[in-house]
């Protein structure tokens, strides 16, 4: 019961904030568009980071192809909206404007998620048999292949990029899915399935020896993670109204990895923190123009030398707030309290 109340409260809060930021609630009060954009991009980053952490942080599988799934989600959902959005709208003409917008968005995102998860399956099955560095390289390769493949599809703009995507995503939807991602990943991790993932991370051979279906677990988490990346991609496309494959190169995959490493692998709140920090750092350093990336990369190197486990390491925010010695330092496996 408590869960439902909290959920409703969160949704209500998001709706309120959305209206407030858009200037629809209080006359004359609206968030500056630039700041709103940063906030929205942060929300998309959160979804990307938390979903990637499921694979890299909790399952210990070294994947650097996340941008590829984001691209699939972005392009497929955008194509649906552009090609079929109006028809769908016509069918549901009785709904108010925002209802129709939301419907189109949700259908588009679902398509993006499904296609991304299918891609995740086909990438995951052959790749997840490989260990460590090899897996990283293969996922990098797949990400690039996906990007080049999309680049050659004229129906979605090819080298010119895909424009004309209606702005269906807003603060509410972005943070709705960010929250949903966090919830889903949290529940996965704090369950028996999550335990097997962490066991695979800790010692895959021992996990297998204890009867765990290691390949199946890895592939499932990979597919789930890709689906979420697809959703993030769809939101990205429907927010910026224009996408180009340049946004989905391995550099983007690196960025997401950096986010989760900064925040702490194996920590959901760490990924959220990392995602937010990342966007604010890159935006905040914009003033320094050319020095921005130099400073950022330097910061990164120093962080790895000084605190490689990231800010939160394996722990969650909660472990700092509650002084109980619950599972301090333990991987986010269940302690029987959920």
């Amino acid at each position: 019961m408590r869960g439902w109340l909290a959920g409703a409260g969160l949704l209500g809060g998001l709706l309120l904030l959305n209206g407030l930021f858009a200037g629809a609630l209080l006359p004359g009060v609206a968030m500056p568009p630039y700041l709103l954009q940063v906030l929205c991009l942060a929300g998309i980053n959160i979804t990307l980071a938390v979903s990637l952490n499921l694979i890299n942080g909790f399952t210990g599988q070294f994947s650097i192809g996340h941008a590829g799934f984001m691209a699939i989600g972005a392009y497929s959902s955008a194509y649906f909206t552009v090609a079929f959005g109006d028809r769908l709208r016509a069918v549901f003409g009785f709904l108010p404007e925002f209802g129709r917008d939301s419907l189109v968005l949700l259908v588009a995102l679902s398509i993006g998620a499904i296609l991304a998860s299918i891609a995740g399956f086909f990438v995951g099955v052959p790749s997840l048999r490989l260990r460590g560095d090899y897996l990283a390289i293969v996922t990098l390769g797949f990400g690039e292949i996906i990007r080049v493949f999309i680049l050659n599809i004229d129906a979605v703009g090819g080298a010119r990029g895909y424009s004309g995507i209606p702005k269906l995503a807003n603060f509410f939807w972005i943070y709705f899915f960010a929250a949903a991602t966090i919830l889903v990943v949290y529940r996965i991790v704090h369950s028996s399935f999550g335990r097997t993932l962490v066991a695979i991370r800790e010692d895959e051979i021992a996990a297998e020896a204890m009867g765990v279906h290691t390949t199946r677990a890895k592939v499932i988490s990979f597919v789930v993670s890709s689906a979420m990346a697809g959703v993030a991609g769809g939101l990205f496309a429907h927010y910026l109204m224009y996408v180009h494959t340049n946004s989905f190169s391995f550099l983007r995959s690196f960025e997401i990895i950096i986010m989760i490493v900064i925040g702490g692998l194996g920590s959901i709140s760490g990924s959220v923190l990392g995602a937010v920090l990342f966007i604010f750092l890159t935006e905040g350093l914009r003033e320094f123009a050319q020095y921005r990336m130099v400073l950022f990369s330097l910061l990164l190197i120093v962080l790895m030398i000084v605190r490689p486990q990231g800010i939160l390491g394996h722990k969650e925010f909660v472990t700092f707030l509650t002084k109980r010695r619950r599972s301090i330092g333990a991987a986010p496996g269940t302690t029987g309290t959920e």
């Binding site: 790749s127 293969v138 051979i205 990895i257 050319q290 020095y291 030398i305 490689p308």
Partner: protein, 298 residues
């Protein structure tokens, strides 16, 4: 048939470049199990150092001597750069988790690229011609003097490297370290020194590649290391990462396939071909063509 031979020659030339860069990746991976993402950027720095040096030596006009000096100068400069990178960025994190090393390497790569953009400016520069130009037509195939230079110089450098690895004490020590860092240290080998040498050698070869490319495709820019580096890396994996002959083989194969695909199929898939090969190799034969299988002891 002549087209095929032409493509082959072009491919060998491109492949030699990839091979030179791939050697650096494979050697560093061999001793440290680290994918040195910054290696492609060292190659870029090599090209730029060559550029600045060759402008300095402009006076004498194009000649083989000046070309040699430029190359040597660049190789030395980048060898030092490689040692510096290793000492400052990689050594402190050597014992950390793989992902930490990876992120550090990415950080170094981004750092070098962005500093280069600041210092050199983002616009491409044009390499002045160093050696006298000439074109040869052999059996209907056009060979430019640059291509010949690339192939010959690469070949020589690879031979030198092989000699060094196989016949000198330092080379033997390098091989020992690549088998087991800890065992080598216990045998009295100064592993820090060997690792520095490895970085120096790899970086020098990358610098040579940079100068050679500068001679061939006169345009250089601060981000040129990214794609070349990535493809050279694929070449190293294809040949079997950690294997020096493998890096050479991989480089030649990748270069040739890329040229063939662009020539016979379509240039839009140029970037993807390397990755497609990579994926096939890793799925069918993860240790690469000439690599060893590492069975984990249970």
């Amino acid at each position: 048939m002549t087209t095929f031979l032409q493509q082959l020659v072009n491919g060998l030339s491109l492949g030699s470049i990839y091979a030179l860069i791939a050697l650096g990746y494979t050697m560093v991976y061999g001793v440290l199990r680290l994918i040195n993402f910054a290696h492609g950027d060292v190659y870029m720095v090599g090209a730029y150092v060559g550029y600045f040096l060759s402008r300095r030596l402009r006076g004498g006009g194009p000649s083989f001597v000046s070309a040699l000096l430029v190359m040597l100068g660049s190789m030395i400069a980048c060898a030092l750069l490689g040692i510096l990178i290793e000492r400052l960025a990689y050594r402190p994190v050597r014992r950390e988790a793989r992902l930490t090393l990876l992120i550090t390497a990415i950080g170094v790569s981004l750092f070098i690229e962005n500093v280069a953009q600041l210092v050199f400016g983002p616009d491409p520069k044009f390499f002045p011609s160093l050696a006298p130009r000439a074109d040869f037509i052999v059996a209907g195939v056009r060979l430019t003097s640059e291509q010949i230079t690339v192939i010959v110089v690469s070949f020589l450098l690879m031979l030198l490297l092989r000699f060094f690895i196989m016949k000198t004490r330092t080379g033997k020590a390098m091989r020992a370290v690549s088998f087991s860092l800890d065992a080598a240290r216990l045998m009295g080998i100064s592993t820090d020194w060997i690792i520095s040498v490895t970085f120096a050698l790899g970086s020098a070869l990358a610098a040579a590649a940079g100068v050679l490319i500068g001679m061939q495709i006169p345009k250089i820019d601060p981000l040129m290391g990214i794609m070349y580096g990535l493809k050279a890396f694929v070449a190293a994996v294809l040949g079997g990462i950690g294997s020096i002959p493998g890096a050479v083989l991989g480089g030649l194969l990748i270069g040739t396939s890329e040229v063939m695909v662009v020539g016979y199929l379509s240039s839009t898939y140029r970037e993807a071909i390397a990755f497609a090969i990579l994926i096939l190799v890793l799925i069918l034969r993860p240790q690469g063509l000439l690599g060893r299988v590492h069975k984990e002891k249970v």
